[in-house]
Symmetry: C2
Subunit: 71 residues, 2 copies
DNA sequence: GCTTTTTGCAATATATAAATTGCAAAAATA
DNA sequence: TATTTTTGCAATTTATATATTGCAAAAAGC
């Protein structure tokens, strides 16, 4: 059982706001459920790399810009 | 059923070589099995974000450096 | 204030990441 | 070339990412 204490992903929330997308709209573009996007923003879990990349492309950002926390 | 055609991760293989680590040694540092590392290098699956980050830290690289392919 | 949209939450179901073991081939080193 | 180390592969099991539905609370718009 792995206790994963993750941080909220504010950068994702901001980037989504900049594109004026709801969680549901982003989810549709990326091909996942709304809940998945919501939980990632809340830091309540651990997406796969391919999903991270899809989100990055939908929001024209890179992995470092949305998912890398400086040390 | 999702057909995932992924590319081999050469950048990871190179970074690991630069640190003179075997797949097994890297796996141990990162806390996963050797197979997991091997399959990621072979592009045969889709690691989680937290694993990608662990690998990055073990090899002192960022997500973009190891896992982002320039469009 | 009322209505609509957006977000959080919870429970259950399904798909797939990752573990484990064992073996064979390849690569490295003596 | 013989020995050791490293890597690939396959089958089975376990943990967890993601889907789905439904509901309630908050936020945004009227």
């Amino acid at each position: 059982m792995k206790m994963v204490t993750m941080m909220k992903n504010i950068k994702l929330k901001v980037a989504r706001a900049e594109h004026d997308l709801s969680q549901e709209e982003l989810a549709k573009r990326v091909g996942v459920s709304r809940q998945t996007i919501g939980l990632i923003e809340l830091g309540k879990y651990n997406p796969t790399l391919s999903l991270c990349k899809s989100i990055c492309k939908a929001l024209s950002r890179t992995l470092d810009e949305l998912f890398w926390d400086e040390d």
